[in-house]
Symmetry: C2
Amino acid sequence: MSADDQATPALRVTIADVASAAGVSRATATRAMKGEGRFAEETRERILEVAERLGYVPNTMAAELAAGRTGTVGLMLRDASNPAYGLLFSRLQDEAHRRGLDLVTVTIGADEQGTKQVGALHRLLGMRVAGLIVATGGITGAQLEPFADQVPILRAGRVEDSARIHTAHYDDEKHGRMLADHVIALGHRHVVVLGGSPEASYPEHLRAMAMRETLIEAEVAVTMISAGARPEEGVDEALKAVRAGATAVMCASDYRQLAVMRASRALGLRVPDDLSVTGCDGILPGADLLGLTTVRIPVEAVASAAVETMQRLLTSGESDAVMRQAFTGELVPGTTARPI
Amino acid sequence: MSADDQATPALRVTIADVASAAGVSRATATRAMKGEGRFAEETRERILEVAERLGYVPNTMAAELAAGRTGTVGLMLRDASNPAYGLLFSRLQDEAHRRGLDLVTVTIGADEQGTKQVGALHRLLGMRVAGLIVATGGITGAQLEPFADQVPILRAGRVEDSARIHTAHYDDEKHGRMLADHVIALGHRHVVVLGGSPEASYPEHLRAMAMRETLIEAEVAVTMISAGARPEEGVDEALKAVRAGATAVMCASDYRQLAVMRASRALGLRVPDDLSVTGCDGILPGADLLGLTTVRIPVEAVASAAVETMQRLLTSGESDAVMRQAFTGELVPGTTARPI
DNA sequence: GTGAAAGCGCTAACAA
DNA sequence: TTGTTAGCGCTTTCAC
């Protein structure tokens, strides 16, 4: 039997084609293909072989529509060009793979206003995903909340204000404190804190506020600069403060730290001889070569907690208590900050 | 528990609910919602309002199943923890947004063997995506080809051997040549080329071979090292060659370059005083501060060509000629390579 | 301008 | 063990 008019797989092949080619009914074909229910092993092999030969690819939409459930978890991601998010994305995927969860991802440009974000949310909800992991600050808890009793929702990476949404996040405040303690221990008495405004980056804001508070408690003079999203913003102002006597610039992210180092170099200021600089994230490949003083955020821990929690929510009826898990990173002393 | 579930949006709301609440038929509701076909403007407003109030979220699976087509393009991505892929991902998303295409992404761990990769491919195909952009080397042209006449397929980032698959890729060979020319111009006469094996990274392999060829043509002595995927591999061997007289190490990626710099530092070798080092990618934030001598790959151009081409394939009947577009990056002289 | 009805491809009882 | 029969939620002619 080698009359192969079916040499090329066609996506139009339906289970009905497979069934009739194998001489069985659609129901039998379905059961055999997924190995559930009762069927003769011999039949199964024949069906599988026919399916293979015809290039049958099950239509997921139809399957899930009929079954009334989805096997996939939706992931809303922030711009992956930031290595911190890229790595989180990567680790979430790995962990999901390991646990047998399928992830489907949509991302939203950081610059978009609410509209697109909600559009992306609706696209995922429209797919009737079984769960939702949100790894972007662009969408608020309030926007998510209405759907929280339809599908388990977990925010990954940053804290969540809504009481009905689970989280696995970085302990941004603690990170801010760790860095501030380090700078204090180095003996700095006048420090610039350069962070994003709450709207630009809430995590950065949390870090910056924690730094500020910790520094003030230690009676260190603080110059606060709240900048926009672009890392270059506020750098000039920070260096102005340095010329006015500050000895260290604490940045709320590695990106800003790099911007400060760049600008310092351009002005002939040496790091750490003329000023100390710290960041936060510790994800950049090459951060070690630059000697960045920073905190390495616990991406792996957050990713695995996020996926693990999601899986639990999916299996055990979704009536669990709301999970809120914070993870602490590690101080990387580096060489961009030195004793005064 | 109160019996008031009208207030909370429910994913279970179907268009039938909306229709009956608005006192129309499902057909009318559909038309009004998408603004196609004939309907009274007044009716439309009423329906929209009801839908909003009920928290209606259209079931995408049902819609696309019924309509027999999908509005989304599938993206297969390689591990986004590599900033080069993270950035490509990000730019592809941006460009797709701009052009009104919806992207749904699946990624595959780099370590997986064919099985998972094919699984991911089938998941996308199962969703009956309208097109496919493949940005991972983990899946071969041969595996893709069978589906090429069902759905337009475009490979982004690296060259494709299959004659039926469109591409928008980096000109890896040219990049290799550009870097080699630079090193030759600096006067190096004995150079180590450190790249990945073809299996570990095909783009790296192409770059390394082009470097080798260019160097040899200029009668430069070349020591080739073909390493595995991990950037540390082959570094010791490269430095051994340096001690044996080589004056430059040309790496096929920035990652390897960083590894070489790290190891050099550990051994007390200074870059570029004791040896020159080059890389390739130029994507790392902070690459400028490290002064990496590299080629900045044209991620933006590839991303926008990829999406543009896909959109064209989607609109104009998919019988277009196969597109093959190569993009060249820019040499970044840096300070890690200096004249001998 | 609107509604009735016939599916899209698949799954899941329930019979046979 | 296998086939029959309803749908899943939505779109889309084609009458009204």
